[in-house]
């Protein structure tokens, strides 16, 4: 064998690019799925839309919740929700998520309620392959009533006064079967970067997920050579391909949530969506009008074709 023939026999690096529907084909009903972003910020909505048009059901969502929770609940896709909050917005413009509220109040979904810091710890424990992480968070609150599996532990080390060890909460690891995150830029191999103000917990969601279930969508896929320039700085390359099984190029894929600095939240669209909780007719109309396109490209084309005053 000549030297040049041996070279051509080297394996090619993995190309992990997939379509939304190819990602969903790798998911199964009953899975525990982490969703990245938070509230109405950088949510992997093109993947959520692909779930909505699939026959997946009985999903357990783990999320810093935004409109994806309400949409998937309203469509009957969710059987369990692990959450600290579900809010399309916070601050002075804070509103509650009506579809999520309806699902919770009707008893349609089971819930595991946590403090938002416990969600961080649970994902971190799973990522580090330890069964729990100790924390003071939760002591004294009613979290035990809504999260009965939550256990306390006694520290094996002396307490602050040198006596018995203090009692803490043991936040269990939150192992995910799959996770879906949306970032600004990535390459075909699964490296990705956030270019906005906050990574949120996207890297942890991916690291807490079983091999084979870790998916990112990105606004743009660029050659690896161009990744640092596209991200702006190496410190923004926070998702590595060690923890990514599939990459979807999804321009405007977070719509209607924000994807800072690429685009802001579509306030008018979100308002329309939130208004559909008032009656089933409105939801059905919205769902058939916006959430039932055969492909993401059709959805994006319909958005682009909206009259200017509604765009």
């Amino acid at each position: 064998m000549s030297a040049s023939e041996a070279e051509t026999a080297y394996p090619e690096p993995k190309d992990k690019r997939l379509s939304e529907d190819e990602v969903v084909a790798r998911l199964e009903s009953g899975m525990k799925i982490g969703i990245g972003g938070w509230g109405s910020r950088r949510k992997p909505m093109s993947l959520v839309r692909a779930i909505l048009r699939s026959d997946l059901t009985d999903l357990h969502l783990v999320t810093f919740g935004g409109p994806e929770v309400g949409m998937l609940c309203a469509a009957g896709k969710v059987s369990h929700l692990t959450f600290a909050f579900v809010a399309p917005d916070v601050g002075p413009a804070a509103v509650l998520e009506p579809h999520f509220r309806a699902a919770r109040q009707s008893g349609a979904i089971e819930c595991t309620e946590v403090d938002e810091g416990m969600l961080l710890l649970g994902l971190q424990a799973a990522a580090w392959r330890v069964p729990f992480l100790p924390t003071r968070v939760g002591l004294g609150s009613d979290l035990g009533l809504v999260n009965p599996e939550l256990q306390r532990i006694t520290s094996p080390y002396p307490g602050p006064d040198g006596g018995a060890g203090e009692e803490l909460i043991a936040q269990p690891a939150i192992h995910l079967d799959a996770s879906l995150c949306h970032l600004n830029v990535g390459d075909a191999r699964g490296n990705a970067a956030f270019t906005g103000p906050d990574l949120y917990f996207d890297d942890l969601m991916l690291e807490a997920t079983a091999d084979g279930g870790r998916f990112v969508s990105v606004e743009r896929v660029v050659p690896t050579d161009d990744l640092v320039d596209a991200a702006g700085d190496i410190t923004r390359l926070r998702v590595s391909r060690l923890f990514v099984d599939g990459v979807v190029e999804a321009p405007n894929g977070a719509h209607p949530t924000s994807c800072d600095p690429d685009y802001e939240r579509d306030e008018a669209f979100q308002k329309t969506y939130l208004g559909t909780a008032k009656d089933t007719e409105l939801w059905n109309e919205f769902s058939s009008g916006w959430l039932s396109f055969p492909t993401e490209a059709d959805y994006q084309a319909a958005l682009a074709a909206r009259p200017e005053e509604n765009a």
């Binding site: 600290a84 924390t135 002591l139 004294g140 609150s141 103000p197």
Partner: protein, 261 residues
């Protein structure tokens, strides 16, 4: 002009902002993290005056030096990057005083922002969720802001304990509750603290134009009322100038707490 005349000229939202600012007095170099319109304005006022070392958020992912309550992005003076995850490092370090809202609050300062009625696993009315309230209250000094004081907010017992009150903290014993402090509750009617033998909420001051009876009637539990209840202090001329010209020139505070009719 008599003191009574002066107090009839003062605007309620300004009194509230100053009362919020006074909650942070003595805090030094910590993260002052007031959440909401008037809380943010009051926090900025404390830093612009007697607590210059406080750090404060932009409401997003940074700590900024601006005095203006909500400066435009281009105008923000950044001190440090404080993304969501970094906030837990601050919260769990104890270097923070948070002021949260409360859908319900009881006499021991237990707070509820999660749900109303029904059962814990199937509430009649689902609200936001626990958010960060358990972790905030067990790790850091906490105060509360209630813009519309009434008996449905100040309740005998909250439906769900999201933020931990004094009775719960005492039950935990010395270790678990050692970082717990509910410092004040500020409402549109008055200022409250827990400086009583069993940490039951007491009326500290009433805002100008509000009577003690009004506060008692608007409170759904038996409030500790000292023999002499003073009026909440008025803003100084310099504080008013800062509020009007620097911190909240748009007057957003008057929309959150309008002047009494």
């Amino acid at each position: 002009m008599s003191a009574t005349d002066l107090s009839s000229l003062v605007r309620r939202a300004d009194v509230c902002a100053v009362a919020v600012a006074d909650c942070f007095r003595g805090d030094g170099e910590i993260l002052a993290n007031p959440i909401g319109t008037i809380p943010m304005i009051g926090g900025r006022l404390a830093r612009a005056t007697w607590e210059p070392d406080l750090m404060m958020t932009d409401g997003e992912a940074a700590l900024i030096a601006n005095d203006q309550a909500v400066p435009a992005k281009a105008d923000r003076v950044y001190e440090t990057w404080n993304p969501y995850r970094r906030m837990f490092d601050v919260v769990w370090s104890g270097r923070r005083h948070v002021m949260m809202g409360a859908t319900q609050v009881d006499r021991f300062g237990n707070q509820n922002i999660a749900a109303l009625g029904g059962t814990p696993t199937r509430p009649r009315t689902q609200l936001l969720g626990f958010r960060g309230a358990p972790g905030n209250t067990i790790n850091d000094t906490t105060s509360y802001w209630v813009p519309a004081h009434g008996p449905k907010v100040f309740v005998e017992a909250v439906d769900v304990v999201t933020g931990v009150g004094y009775d719960r903290a005492v039950e935990l014993g010395g270790d678990g509750g050692r970082f717990h402090e509910i410092r004040r509750v500020v409402s549109n009617l008055g200022v409250f603290d827990f400086d009583t033998p069993n940490h039951s909420m007491q009326l500290r001051t009433v805002h100008p134009g509000v009577t003690v009876d009004e506060v008692v009637e608007a409170t759904g539990f038996s409030l500790v009322v000292p023999a002499d209840v003073e009026q909440t202090r008025l803003p100084t001329p310099d504080e008013l100038r800062l509020l009007d010209e620097v911190i909240d020139p748009q007057g957003t505070r008057f929309r959150e707490v309008p002047d009494p009719a």
